[in-house]
Symmetry: C2
Subunit: 130 residues, 2 copies
Amino acid sequence: MILTVDLSSDVPLYQQLRDRVVEAIAAGDLSEGSPLPATRTLASDFGINFHTVNKAYELLRQQGLIRLNRKTGAVVIAPVANPTFRADWTARARTLLAEAVARGVPADEVLTACHDVLHTFNASQLEDTA
Amino acid sequence: MILTVDLSSDVPLYQQLRDRVVEAIAAGDLSEGSPLPATRTLASDFGINFHTVNKAYELLRQQGLIRLNRKTGAVVIAPVANPTFRADWTARARTLLAEAVARGVPADEVLTACHDVLHTFNASQLEDTA
DNA sequence: GCTTTGTTCTATAACTCATAGATCATAGGA
DNA sequence: TCCTATGATCTATGAGTTATAGAACAAAGC
């Protein structure tokens, strides 16, 4: 497990945890059926409260990325189609992309940066199966 | 001025205001020298407190997007190079892009969506100068 | 002189974040 | 069977954020 949190960040801990899990799934480090650490275990590893981990897992469950069961723990599930997700995501992407453009980054460089990030996800998956 | 806020959104009002201004700059609806509405005026238009608008403007000033002066008001300025911005932005882009990939959107479709959003910025600018 | 503007203080109610402790139900292993 | 590990569910608290509100100040323009 290669999850990390930054205690000095202004991003909430539970949000950071969610983000790291999402990135791990995108990169293929976690795939359908992969188990996540027990909430108390992960909390202990990071030196944070297990309620905080619980909140991150609950968020991931609400977003349809993991399944929570007693004893089986948290398990990554196959993504389910969500009709409103694309629209919501695009709105957030619009804000993020606008921020780069507004601060003078040329549009083609922004697109290249996105391409490079997406490539790191694919690269990770290829490594896993190689 | 085509700024809007959603009072029922869970995104803080000052954050929404900042986002809309950033998007307007990226789209060319606001460019260097463009004045923003007075804080009290904008607050009155939206039916919100002027301190909330003040906070949004202060955020935009800290991020180097506008200049604040007495009487001249808030004015959009040319973007200044910020060495840490690219790294910070890329980290946030990684999280956002990962979210789409983790939820089953193919990488090429994600990239196309980014391309389309960036195109809307260019299209707006072309309309302005046409 | 008056208005408009950003700027700066205090204050407050509601909410979020992270912590803490306790308890419960359930499934698995010793 | 007993014990443990696990997620699930309550209460509670302190620190911080969000949005509101009111008041006052300094500077620029009419």
